[in-house]
């Protein structure tokens, strides 16, 4: 069974640039020019690292969805 494709997004109204996501999933979360984090899709990192990044966000700004159904996933 192939893993479901994920889509990540960062709510820039919440993001404060703590950058812990960029440590957990280094290719999926990158800094924009103002020092906030933005998501790269499809996520190049492992599923495990992507969810570790989402959990590490201190302001819960990261959303992970299923690419097909759009359903929010928490792991």
């Amino acid at each position: 069974m192939s893993a479901r494709t994920l889509v990540v997004s960062v709510n820039l109204n919440l993001c404060i640039g703590n950058a812990m996501c960029r440590e957990a999933a280094r290719s999926t979360f990158v800094a924009d020019e103002s020092g906030l984090s933005v998501g790269v899709n499809p996520p190049p990192d492992t599923r495990e690292d992507v969810f570790a990044a989402a959990r590490a966000c201190p302001v819960c700004a990261i959303l992970v969805r299923d690419a097909e159904s759009g359903e929010e996933i928490y792991e």
Binding site: I16, N18, A19, S34
Partner: protein, 417 residues
């Protein structure tokens, strides 16, 4: 419109600053937003955009302050002469706790790459989802405190409620027994209360470091489900030296309650001064408490300022800051900047997703922010459900000398209902 009160905007010990940092720093923001202070010998950066820029650019603005490495006689505000030798004998790793080498609290005062390792040693505990397991205990503590005071129809809120709640929560998380609570709170007070003088603070610091040493050592061999065990693991793994491990434990104890009790006390004060907002919160506490807490954080940030040192020359707000210059980001001005917030001086709990800087931002964004949010939301939700109206008894006075402890905290707050 009221006549503006005359005061010297460079006088960082002005009573206007102590009583009303928003007016004081607001005047700087609207006249000279990046201003050199000749007494502190530092830049004050006051606009929301510029303060946010500093938080997110830690490679330009270092958090390793110069002050703790100065001789005691070189500090500003000055340290009493009889304490100079004592202070100079204190390990710089601890000095921030004396309320003199501000910003030198561990992890807070460290740059990357060491900062990342230290943060990661503790970050897991403070992740929002991991902290949820404590919400029930916090809600229960809130309810017990309400029950204990309800029939008296009055209380001194800061010490009898806010301090008890936030201190109990962090004490339990650190893994320290209830029996030590009174002692720990007493030492903490001697350490942070600037009225006690530096000599007393140095003695209190040594006691607290020794207390933590014994508990950290115990967890080296027998770790438990508590924060001190993570500190011990960090020391074992080479992330913290021995004195750093003690210092970080002290930081967590102090930062874990002094700040949150201010949030709750200042927040309740804002509601008392704005009864329409209290009525609004009471109309649907389950729905409105979360955003109300954010507005409390925006309106009355606990920390008024944070300090940095420029690593290289950098232009900000049209001024050139030179390498090695001291820089203060002024949170209480940024949070009231009309460029970032509509009607900034209005306490309005209907604001959504406001980008306040109460917890700073960037890599040094407050580690305990998710915990503070849980404690404050459980408090305001429970109070809103139970109390129709609070009134103040007497005037509020604030801790003096903002540039010593950085906090906007009432000395006490007497309320009745």
């Amino acid at each position: 419109m009221n006549q503006p009160i005359p005061f010297d905007i460079d006088d960082l010990r002005s009573p206007v600053l102590v009583a009303d940092p928003y007016t004081f720093f607001g005047r700087i923001r609207e006249t000279d937003p990046v201003r050199w202070n000749p007494h502190k010998k530092a830049w004050l950066v006051t606009r929301h955009e510029d303060v946010g820029f500093i938080t997110r650019n830690s490679e330009i603005f270092s958090s390793a302050p110069k002050q703790p490495f100065l001789k005691a006689k070189e500090y500003w505000p000055p340290i009493a002469e009889e304490a100079w030798d004592l202070v100079d004998a204190v390990d710089p790793e601890y000095r921030g706790h004396l309320g003199i080498g501000l910003g030198n609290f561990l992890i807070v005062s460290v740059d990357r790459p060491a900062h990342l390792q230290m943060r990661q040693a503790l970050h897991e505990w403070f992740m929002p989802r991991n902290l949820e397991r404590w919400r029930g205990l916090i809600a229960k503590t809130v309810n017990d405190l309400i029950e204990a005071h309800y029939d008296a129809h009055r209380m001194e809120f800061k010490n009898s409620f806010a301090t008890k709640l936030s201190f109990t929560a962090i004490r339990i998380m650190l893994g320290l027994p209830e029996a030590d609570g009174v002692l720990l709170r007493e030492i903490s007070e001697r350490l942070t209360n600037p009225n006690d003088g530096t000599v007393g603070a140095v003695a209190a610091l040594k006691e607290l470091a020794q207390y933590m040493r014994v508990r950290i050592d115990a967890r080296m061999t027998a770790p438990g489900d508590d924060i001190l065990s993570m500190v011990a693991a960090g020391e074992k793994g080479g992330v913290f030296t021995r004195s750093q491990a003690e210092s970080v434990a002290i930081t967590l104890l102090l930062a874990g309650h002094e700040t949150t009790l201010s949030l709750m006390t200042n927040g309740l004060h804002a509601f008392i001064c704005n009864p329409d907002q209290w009525d609004l919160l009471r109309s649907d506490p389950d729905k409105l408490t979360q955003q109300a807490v954010e507005e409390c954080l925006r309106y009355h940030p606990t920390l008024t300022v944070f300090n940095r040192v420029a690593v290289r020359d950098v232009e900000i707000g049209g001024k050139v800051i030179r390498a090695r210059d001291d820089v203060y980001g002024v949170i209480s001005s940024a949070n009231r900047d009309p460029r970032a917030f509509k009607d900034p001086d209005k306490f309005d709990i209907t604001r959504m997703q406001s980008k306040h800087l109460a917890f700073s931002g960037g890599i040094h964004h407050c580690l305990g922010a998710p915990l503070a949010r849980i404690e404050a939301s459980e408090t305001f939700k429970a109070l809103a459900k139970r109390f129709e109206r609070f009134e103040l008894e007497g005037e509020i006075e604030y801790l003096p000398d903002v540039f010593v402890h950085h906090m906007h905290q009432p000395v006490e707050m007497n309320i009745r209902w």
